[in-house]
């Protein structure tokens, strides 16, 4: 009888340790992921500001154009490495944000300064909001605000 009680107590200790470990691990992962997403969103806002600045400049600026292209590439590359995101769902947003900034009015031969209320800039702002919402939605799905505060799901990380 005493042996059975000891075994049960030991099992409870192991289960308790395991549960504590899992929740602690998930809390750390959630904090880490939140920090990475916050940085990504800061970058996204900078891309939005740079896009506005590039397209509304009085003349085509090749340095700004190159910086914008590199920033967009870096944004996608960084987001693609984050396991919290479903990359198949975000691919459409990566495409839209690149197109929004660099499909029209992106050449010295065709560049025309855009007013700040130009459709191109307003559309880009919408695209930027949409990708931010999509990232936040995916984060909230994986790390909900209610117990147990995380969900297991299989993710594909692209490098």
């Amino acid at each position: 009888m005493a042996t059975a009680a000891a075994v049960i107590a030991l099992l409870l200790v192991i289960v308790g340790w395991f549960a504590t470990h899992v929740f602690s691990e998930m809390r750390e992962r959630r904090k880490e992921m939140r920090g990475q997403i916050d940085k990504l969103i800061v970058n996204l806002h900078k891309i939005e500001a740079d896009t506005r600045s590039f397209h509304s400049a009085p003349a085509f600026d090749s340095v700004k154009a190159n910086d914008l292209r590199v920033s967009l590439d870096r944004f996608e590359r960084t987001a693609s490495r984050m396991a919290v995101f479903n990359q198949d769902e975000l691919a459409r947003h990566y495409r839209l944000i690149r197109q929004g900034a660099t499909l029209q009015n992106f050449e010295p031969s065709t560049f025309t300064p855009q007013p700040l209320d130009a459709a191109l800039l307003m559309d880009f702002s919408d695209i930027s909001w949409d990708i931010e919402d999509a990232m936040e939605t995916q984060y909230a799905e994986q790390y909900p605000d209610s117990f147990p505060y995380f969900r297991f799901r299989k993710r594909t990380i692209r490098k």
Binding site: A65, N66, R69, V70, S71, L72, D73, R74, E76, S80, Q87, D88, A91, R92, Y94, R95, R98, Q99, A101, T102, L103, Q104, F106, E107, P108, S109, T110, R158, K159
Partner: protein, 104 residues
């Protein structure tokens, strides 16, 4: 199969739509690598990775421009094969090929 890696065979900084926009424009890439192979009916594998980003105007002119120049979209999709870790790039290029209309 013919293989072209944009970053090493063309430029790490592909930019611009037309030749007048610079030496590494979409039109230059199309003229140098894509059209000769399509004309010969050969398959070409385009590796898109390794550059410092793409402007959409470059991609549209390089790939969508093929259809505007008279190549059938289905033929282009069959002969021009894309390789990239970025699904978004492949989606975008296929969209340009499908959406482009032949210049009359």
């Amino acid at each position: 199969m013919n293989h072209v890696k944009v970053a090493t065979d063309f430029s790490r900084y592909p930019a611009g739509r037309f030749l007048k926009d610079g030496p590494f424009s979409g039109e230059a890439f199309r003229n140098k690598f894509l059209e000769p192979k399509l004309l010969a009916g050969e398959v070409i594998l385009v590796d898109l990775d390794g550059t410092r980003g793409y402007g959409s105007s470059f991609l549209e002119e390089a790939f969508g421009g093929l259809v505007r120049h008279g190549y059938d979209a289905d033929r282009v999709l069959r002969l021009v094969q894309l390789q990239s870790k970025r699904e978004s790039l492949q989606q975008e290029i296929r969209g340009y090929i499908r959406d482009a209309t032949r210049d009359s």
